[in-house]
Symmetry: C2
């Protein structure tokens, strides 16, 4: 049985950036929290949409034709196949949902290992 | 292309309780916001887990063997097939994720119509 999850408490357990932690699963998806700062790499996910919800701070999701800025309480879904580059000037905290096993960098060779907390 | 979604702004557009509004889609799932107050019906979803994230206020998710209390910033996944009855003493605002077409009551005959905002 799943347990209730306090997102802030989970985020307080680590400081590493760009290293998502799985806090729940939902129909084969990982529900993850992640701390970010600076620019990630440009990438796309060929087989899945990519859901971002900002819990704290602000992020830009750079797309090839525009930039989407998200503050806390705002979300955005990057459609599958669309190149994107997340960027945070200051530390920001996000909730992410992706099918379990999706490489966060778009490439299994460089992806962060799945970590469940 | 999906648009950025401000959850509080979406919630400010309606007052109806227990009537989820779809604010984004993700791999065939509806990402919904809903206002709740009082007790919903006991139900289960045979084919899908049910993700609850509290955005404001507090809810109880009554299960047959215990009650899970969630405050803002807390989430819970009701596994598929598990009977549950959401309850909110005072008005609470939630984010829900379910496959598009999932009846919110567990029964298509009594489910709220899908509303996209």
């Amino acid at each position: 049985m799943e347990k209730p999850v306090n997102l802030a408490e989970k985020l307080a357990t680590f400081d590493e950036k760009w290293s998502p932690r799985t806090v729940a699963t939902f129909n084969g998806n990982d529900v993850m929290v992640v701390k970010v700062q600076g620019a990630f790499n440009w990438h796309a996910h060929a087989d899945t949409d990519d859901l971002f919800l900002v819990l704290r701070g602000q992020i830009d999701i750079r797309l090839r034709d525009r930039t989407v800025t998200l503050d806390a309480g705002e979300m955005f879904v990057v459609p599958k196949g669309v190149e994107h580059c997340p960027y945070a000037r200051d530390e920001a905290h996000l909730l992410l949902i992706e099918p379990s096993g999706t490489p966060n960098t778009g490439d299994p060779a460089t992806a962060a290992a799945r970590k469940v907390i």
